[in-house]
């Protein structure tokens, strides 16, 4: 049953998608018409329903659609007579969708060979690149101080995120939250963390820079929030993969919920937790450089300042400093994670 719905929805979306592009090509709507979201959504919905009907008609005629090819259960996809690929509807569907999407993509991204090979534009880019390759080392001392600030932003964000994520990870692990009430808490927390994680750290940095003012504190808070959500997910996946034996063993002694976590689960998860934490710090250093661009402090703030004044030699110096530190952190964290495995 589920596969039929999935198939119908997939086929309908593909149909409506192709139909709407065809409509745009034929009708050539004005910009005002394109901006009428409500009306256009209704058109799409109508095409979607039509697509569903077409999908059922084709299915009734035993013609296999792309949706069926993808979502049909394994046991009925075995064809008695194998037709060559160019005689199958679904291969043409796939081909048409792909070609149409590429053409639409070229259109949407203003893709232009002319602009790419324009001589004036190209020489401008080369001049900029030349400046970047000749970094102004006068600002190096300041850049070093700022990258240290950046590393501390990342460090604090990680350190403050760990205890929160540690506690949350047990409440977001399916094998711990087996009780019906606990399962509701599990679902709520999971959803909440997914929402937090799906908002980019960059957006959190903008929010916090309004809340606590522009500077490293805002950047640290943004990274911390993002780290809590990410680490809690990674940690809870480790908790879900622990072996049940020790849990049973400890439960049988009459231990309570917290003792079971502490004695049966924690020993199994400590090392993977540490590995993920080091990796998160490494990621946070890279993200901290970016967060500075929107007022999160650290070297990013310095970078955006020089970039705004088109001082490319200074920007070059900062880019080199960032590259060196990111590379060092990356290598160091890889070694550390390897060593504690």
């Amino acid at each position: 049953m589920g596969s039929i719905i999935k198939r119908a929805v997939f086929d309908s979306i593909i149909f409506a998608y192709l139909a709407i592009i065809a409509l745009i090509v034929v009708v050539k709507p004005t910009e005002d018409q394109m901006l009428m979201l409500g009306k256009n959504s209704l058109i799409f919905l109508g095409l979607f329903v039509l697509g569903g009907a077409v999908s059922f008609l084709l299915n009734g005629a035993k013609i296999k659609t792309l949706g069926e090819q993808i979502f049909a259960p394994d046991h009925i996809t075995i064809e008695k007579i194998s037709k060559p690929w160019y005689k199958k509807l679904w291969t043409w569907q796939l081909l048409v969708v792909f070609v149409v999407t590429v053409v639409a993509g070229v259109n949407q991204t203003n893709f232009s060979i002319y602009e790419l090979t324009d001589e004036r534009g190209f020489s401008g880019a080369m001049r900029l690149f030349g400046d970047l390759a000749n970094p102004n080392l006068e600002i190096l001392p300041k850049a070093v101080l700022k990258i240290i600030e950046t590393i501390y932003i990342a460090f604090m964000a990680t350190v403050l995120a760990v205890p929160l994520a540690f506690i949350l990870s047990f409440f977001t692990a399916k094998n711990v939250m087996t009780h019906p009430v606990a399962f509701v808490i599990y679902l709520g927390l999971r959803t909440f963390l997914n929402v937090v994680r799906s908002v980019e750290a960059l957006i959190w940095a903008i929010i916090f820079s309004v809340w606590v003012g522009i500077g490293p504190f805002a950047g640290m808070l943004a990274l911390m929030l993002h780290s809590v959500a990410s680490l809690a997910k990674q940690y809870s996946e480790i908790v879900e993969s622990v072996s049940d034996g020790p849990i049973e063993g400890i439960r049988a002694t009459g231990a309570n919920f917290f003792q079971v976590i502490w004695f049966a689960i924690v020993p199994q998860v400590v090392l993977p937790y540490i590995a993920f934490t080091i990796y998160r710090w490494d990621i946070n250093v890279r993200m901290a450089t970016i967060i500075g661009l929107v007022g999160g402090g650290g070297i990013g703030t310095m970078l955006i300042k020089y970039q705004g004044q088109a001082m490319w030699q200074e920007v070059g110096c900062i880019v080199v400093v960032i590259a060196v530190v990111v590379w060092l952190m990356d290598t160091a964290s890889a070694y550390l994670r390897e060593a504690i495995k």
């Binding site: 020790p246 063993g249 439960r251 002694t253 049966a264």
Partner: protein, 259 residues
């Protein structure tokens, strides 16, 4: 004298619809070495786990008689279950020790049930628990391994640590779920001998799941046999003849001897 456990018509149906126990009744006498036999999937493990509520039975009663009075295990709730588990220790086929902890630390975990959460998490265990843990490590003959990590030990040694952990609970009954099924035949007897010692010297009632009939004859004082979640046989292990054997294990089954 009242039996220590009265299992009455106990049933267990898993959420996926599998009926593991279809109304099993028997008594467990105080101080006996009761062995449960049956094929894999006959419901032996489920039965044991229903007795200490690692699994929740879906029907029936289990009356637990102590000098303090009687209680129905099958219908207990919440904190009472944890309290009950202190009296019914358990050992497992795969030992279920904490690999990264030392042997002594593993044995001390037997005392978790009567240690406060904060104290146990800080690693503070009562002096008498430590003394008892050491005493039982000595009883199972591995006191010299007390400070070795549990995963450094052989299977037989790990099972002996598990026995010491169970004893540290001060249980009235020891449940043993296939305690020798993942051990080699030679180690088998060592572990079974320690269980016998626990039974005879400490007077702890033992309920033990076993595969091998030769072990059953050697160690059991009484036997119950399960097949497809039903009780097939209850009585003296010496009375299990070939006819009974075929009934329990199915036609064409042959007995394997462990020497």
């Amino acid at each position: 004298m009242k039996p220590i456990l009265e299992v009455k018509n106990i049933e267990k149906t898993y959420p996926n619809g599998v009926q593991a126990l279809k109304g099993v009744s028997f008594d467990v006498k105080k101080g006996e070495f009761l062995v449960v036999i049956g094929l894999s999937g006959s419901g032996k493990s489920t039965l044991l786990r229903c007795l200490n509520r690692l699994h929740d039975p879906t029907g029936g009663e289990v009356i637990f008689n102590t000098e303090k009075g009687s209680a129905d295990i099958a219908n207990m709730k919440g904190g009472k279950i944890r309290h009950l588990r202190k009296d019914l220790a358990m050992i497992f086929q795969h030992f279920n020790l904490i690999p990264r902890h030392t042997v002594l630390s593993n044995v001390l975990m037997g005392g978790l049930g009567h240690t406060s959460t904060i104290k146990s998490m800080l690693g503070i265990f009562p002096e008498e628990d430590i003394a008892r843990a050491k005493k039982y490590l000595k009883l199972v003959g591995i006191e010299e391994k007390a400070n070795v990590r549990a995963d450094q030990l052989s299977g037989g040694q790990q099972q002996r640590v598990a026995i010491a952990r169970a004893l540290t609970q001060n249980p009235k009954i020891l449940l043993a779920d296939e305690p020798v099924a993942s051990l080699d035949p030679a180690t088998c007897h060592t572990v079974m001998d320690y269980l016998k010692k626990v039974n005879q010297e400490l007077g702890i009632t033992i309920i033990c799941n076993l595969h091998f009939l030769s072990l059953v004859r050697q160690y059991a004082t009484r036997v119950v046999a399960l097949k497809d979640g039903k009780l097939m046989y209850e009585g003296d292990p010496k009375n299990i003849d070939d006819a009974w054997f075929e009934q329990i294990y199915g036609e064409g089954a042959k007995e394997v001897h462990i020497e």
